[in-house]
C-alpha cells in the first residue's frame, strides 16, 4: 500500500498547491509538536487545588458517579466494604496487581476477597488505581501498564477507583502533562497502550433516547478519594 501512501501525500500537496513542508516551515511544525502548549483552559478549572478537589467530586456526582472521601489509604478497605454492603454487592473483587493498592491494609476487612490480575468474564467488582482526577468534568484518567490492566475498568459491573487528592488536577491538559512528565521522555512516545478518560458509568440512549446506565461497561462507578495532602 505504499503506492497509496505516495498517492495520498502527493494529492494533499497538489491540492494545497505546495511541495512537502521543509526547512523553516518544517522546523516550526516540529517545534509545535515538541513543546505542546495548552490552548484556552476554561475558568471553571483554574482554581486553587483544594477547590479543584471539591469541584471534581461535585462534577463526578453530577455525572452519575459516587464519591467517598477518606483521610488515608488505611481507610480504603472500610470505604470499599461499606460501599459494597450498602448496595448489596458481592465482596469478591478483581484488583489491579498494583503496588500502591497492595500497600493498603486490606486485612482490616477480611471479608473482602481480592483477586489480582486482568479481568475475567465472571468478575463483578473491579478496583483500579486512577492516574489522575480531572476536576472540570469529574473525569478519571487511567493509564494501563503491567500492574494496571485496562480490562478491569470495563468488564466488571461495578468499578471502584482509588484516587488520591494530590492526583486531582483542574483540566485535561494538566493530566496529560503529568503523563508526559511521568514517562520523562520528549519524543512523544510516552503514552501507555491504553489511556482511559472515564466520566461516570457506562450509558446508552439508543433505545428511544431514554438514558440507561450500564450498557456494556460498568453500571456503577465509585470513587474512593483519599486525602493524601498535608493541610
Amino acid at each position: 500500500m505504499s503506492e497509496a501512501r505516495e498517492k495520498i501525500l502527493r494529492g494533499i500537496r497538489r491540492s494545497l498547491g505546495r511541495g512537502p513542508r521543509l526547512g523553516e516551515e518544517r522546523a516550526a511544525l516540529q517545534a509545535r509538536l515538541a513543546s505542546p502548549r495548552p490552548n484556552l483552559i476554561p475558568k471553571r478549572a483554574r482554581l486553587p487545588h483544594a477547590e479543584q478537589v471539591v469541584l471534581f467530586q461535585a462534577m463526578a456526582e453530577k455525572l452519575d458517579a459516587t464519591v467517598a472521601r477518606v483521610s488515608s489509604l488505611a481507610e480504603v478497605p472500610d470505604a470499599v466494604a461499606e460501599y459494597l454492603a450498602a448496595r448489596n454487592l458481592p465482596t469478591t473483587i478483581r484488583m489491579s496487581p498494583d503496588p500502591e493498592l497492595d500497600a493498603i491494609p486490606w486485612d482490616r476487612r477480611p471479608l473482602l476477597t481480592l483477586h489480582r490480575g486482568r479481568a475475567a468474564p465472571e468478575d463483578l467488582v473491579g478496583l483500579t488505581p486512577a492516574f489522575a482526577g480531572i476536576a472540570e468534568t469529574g473525569t478519571l484518567m487511567f493509564a494501563s501498564g503491567a500492574a494496571r490492566p485496562a480490562t478491569i475498568n470495563f468488564m466488571p459491573d461495578t468499578h471502584i477507583a482509588v484516587l488520591r487528592s494530590s492526583q486531582v488536577v483542574g483540566d485535561y491538559e494538566t493530566a496529560f502533562a503529568r503523563l508526559r512528565a511521568a514517562a520523562g521522555r520528549e519524543d512523544g512516545l510516552f503514552m501507555p497502550r491504553t489511556v482511559n478518560l472515564v466520566t461516570g458509568p457506562s450509558r446508552t440512549g439508543d433505545i428511544e433516547q431514554t438514558l440507561i446506565l450500564g450498557a456494556h461497561g460498568p453500571r456503577r462507578l465509585h470513587v474512593v478519594l483519599v486525602d493524601d495532602e498535608a493541610h
Binding site: G145, T194, I212, G214
Partner: protein, 477 residues
C-alpha cells in the same frame, strides 16, 4: 446482507415514505425536544464555549494546511510503538486491507465499535461475503444490524426504531441463544444485549473500531463513546484494527483537549462522554491485556481533493451530529431519506462529493438555508454556503432540471430590466389580487400547486409599492 443501495436520487420518494412512518415521526419529535434542550443547557454552563469553538476551528485549519506533515508524523509514531499504518486511497483498498488483516490471523468473527468510515466503505457486507462475521457492538448499531438497515443518524444510528420494534428484533434474533421471552422494558433490553454481546467480545479474533481523532504527537487513536463497547472491542481480541480517515489527525494532546470540550457538548449535550480512550500501539511487554496487533487503516476516498477548494471546511467536521439535531429538514424526513451514509446538513454538504452531484443533487437543494446547523456546528462549518456551492455546480453542469434553470434565468433577465419588471409586476399582481379578492387568499392556482397543496396563497394587496410610491410622489410634487 448486501451493501445498502444508494438512494439519494430518490429523495422525494424517500421523503414520502418517511412522512408516512408514524414511528419515525415520533422519534424525530423526541429529538427536537431532547437533544436540542440538552445541548443548550450544557453550553450555557460553559462561558468559554464559543471561544473554544474558535480555537478548535483554528486547530483544524492549521492541520488541514499541513495535513501531509501531520499524517507522516502520526505514522512514524505508530510505527515506533509497534503498530502498523495502512494508507488507502479508495474504499476498496480499505476493505481489502482489513480483510487481509483478518485473514492473516484466521479470524472468523470481528466485533465492531461504531464507525462511520466503516459505513462509508460498506465494510460489513464485504466481510460477510468473505466468510467473516462482523458483530456490531454499539447498541444502536447492533439494533440496525439485526434489522438489516443503514444508520439514520451519525451518533444515534437506531434513532428511528421504537422500543417495540427493538423488542421484536431481539425476540426474533435472540431465540438462538435460548431466550424465548419477549422483553419490553428498555433497561431489560439493554441488559439482554449486554449479556449476548459480552460473549461476542470474548470470542472475537479481531476488534474493529473507528477513531474520532488521531494524535500526531503520540501516534494515538482516540474513540469517544458512552457505552464502553468500543473499549471491550479493542481490548479483548488479539488484533485491534482502527478504520479512520486522513482528516482526523490533530497535532497534540492539548489540541485534542480543546476539541473534546466542544464535542460531547455538541453531540449529546453531555459535559463529557463516559469514555474517551487513547490507544497507542499494541500491548506492551508485561501488559496483562490489550491487543497483540494494532493496525490503523487510513482512508482518503477523495478527501484530499477537497483541500484548497471552497469545500475544504467540510474536513473540519468532527461528526458530532449537532447539525442534524437542529435541522428542520432532518426533523421532517429523518436520516434514511438522504439515501446514503451521512444524513442531515453535513450529509447534504458532503455526500455530493462522494456520490457525484447528479446522484445527490436533491440533498444540497433540500434546505431552507435557515442556518441553524452552522450556528450550532462546533467547528463553524459554513454548511449553507457549501450547499450553495453544490447548487452552483449543479446549475453550471446542467444537472439542475431544465424548467428550473429556464425559470430562474428568465426571471433574472426580467429582474435586470426594472421598467419591464415594474410593468409586468403591476399586471401580475392585479390579476392575482383579483383572483383572491373575496377571501384575501387563493386555495389553488395553476402552476403554484407546490405552494397551494399544503397552504393557501395570500392574495397581494393589488398595487405594487413602486406604483403607489410613484403616485404619491407625483401628488407631492
Amino acid at each position: 446482507m448486501s451493501a445498502f443501495p444508494v438512494t439519494s436520487r430518490n429523495f422525494r420518494k424517500n421523503t414520502a415514505k418517511a412522512h408516512a412512518d408514524e414511528n419515525l415521526r415520533k422519534a424525530l419529535k423526541r429529538m427536537e425536544s431532547g437533544a436540542i434542550v440538552r445541548r443548550a443547557a450544557v453550553v450555557a454552563e460553559l462561558p468559554e464555549f464559543d471561544a473554544l469553538r474558535d480555537e478548535a476551528l483554528a486547530i483544524k485549519n492549521h492541520v488541514l494546511g499541513n495535513l501531509d506533515f501531520y499524517l507522516e508524523r502520526f505514522e512514524a509514531q505508530v510505527k515506533a510503538q509497534g503498530g502498523h499504518v495502512h494508507w488507502c486511497a479508495t474504499p476498496r483498498q480499505a476493505r481489502e486491507t482489513i480483510l487481509s488483516i483478518c485473514q492473516a490471523v484466521g479470524a472468523r468473527t470481528a466485533t465492531k465499535g461504531k464507525s462511520m468510515i466503516a459505513e462509508e466503505i460498506a465494510l460489513n457486507p464485504f466481510l460477510e461475503e468473505n466468510g467473516i462475521e462482523p458483530v456490531e457492538t454499539d447498541l444502536g448499531e447492533y439494533i440496525i444490524q439485526l434489522a438489516d438497515e443503514p444508520p439514520s443518524h451519525i451518533i444515534g444510528p437506531a434513532l428511528h426504531k421504537t422500543k417495540e420494534q427493538v423488542t421484536e428484533l431481539f425476540h426474533q434474533h435472540h431465540r438462538k441463544y435460548g431466550r424465548e421471552e419477549r422483553v419490553t422494558d428498555p433497561q431489560a433490553l439493554v441488559n439482554e444485549a449486554r449479556e449476548i454481546l459480552r460473549q461476542k467480545y470474548i470470542d472475537a479474533d479481531v476488534g474493529i473500531t473507528g477513531a474520532n481523532f488521531l494524535i500526531a504527537e503520540t501516534g494515538s487513536t482516540i474513540i469517544v463513546t458512552n457505552e464502553g463497547n468500543g473499549d471491550l472491542t479493542q481490548m479483548l481480541p488479539r488484533v485491534h484494527v482502527v478504520i479512520t480517515s486522513i482528516e482526523k489527525v490533530v497535532p497534540t494532546l492539548e489540541d485534542v483537549s480543546t476539541i473534546l470540550r466542544v464535542l460531547a457538548r455538541s453531540a449529546t449535550g453531555q459535559e463529557f462522554s463516559s469514555y474517551t480512550t487513547f490507544s497507542t500501539g499494541p500491548k506492551r511487554a508485561g501488559d496483562l491485556d490489550g491487543p497483540e496487533q494494532f493496525h490503523v487503516v487510513l482512508l482518503d476516498n477523495g478527501r484530499s481533493d477537497l483541500l484548497g477548494t471552497e469545500m475544504q471546511d467540510l474536513l473540519r467536521c468532527i461528526r458530532c451530529g449537532a447539525c442534524m439535531n437542529h435541522c428542520p429538514v432532518y426533523h421532517s424526513v429523518g436520516g434514511h431519506a438522504y439515501g446514503w451514509v451521512y444524513p442531515g446538513p453535513i450529509g447534504a454538504a458532503l455526500d455530493p462529493h462522494f456520490l457525484g452531484i447528479e446522484e445527490a443533487q436533491h440533498l444540497p437543494n433540500a434546505s431552507t438555508f435557515c442556518g441553524r446547523c452552522e450556528s450550532v456546528c462546533p467547528m463553524r462549518i459554513p454548511l449553507p454556503d457549501i450547499m450553495r456551492h453544490w447548487r452552483e455546480r449543479a446549475f453550471e453542469s446542467a444537472v439542475t432540471p431544465p424548467q428550473q434553470r429556464f425559470g430562474i434565468r428568465l426571471w433574472a433577465w426580467v429582474a435586470m430590466r426594472p421598467a419591464l419588471y415594474r410593468a409586468g409586476a403591476r399586471l401580475a399582481m392585479r390579476l392575482l389580487a383579483w383572483l383572491g379578492r373575496r377571501e384575501g387568499r387563493l386555495s389553488s392556482l395553476p402552476f403554484a400547486g407546490g405552494w397551494t397543496a399544503g397552504r393557501d396563497l395570500p392574495a397581494p394587496q393589488g398595487r405594487t409599492f413602486q406604483e403607489l410610491w410613484a403616485a404619491r410622489r407625483g401628488a407631492r410634487k
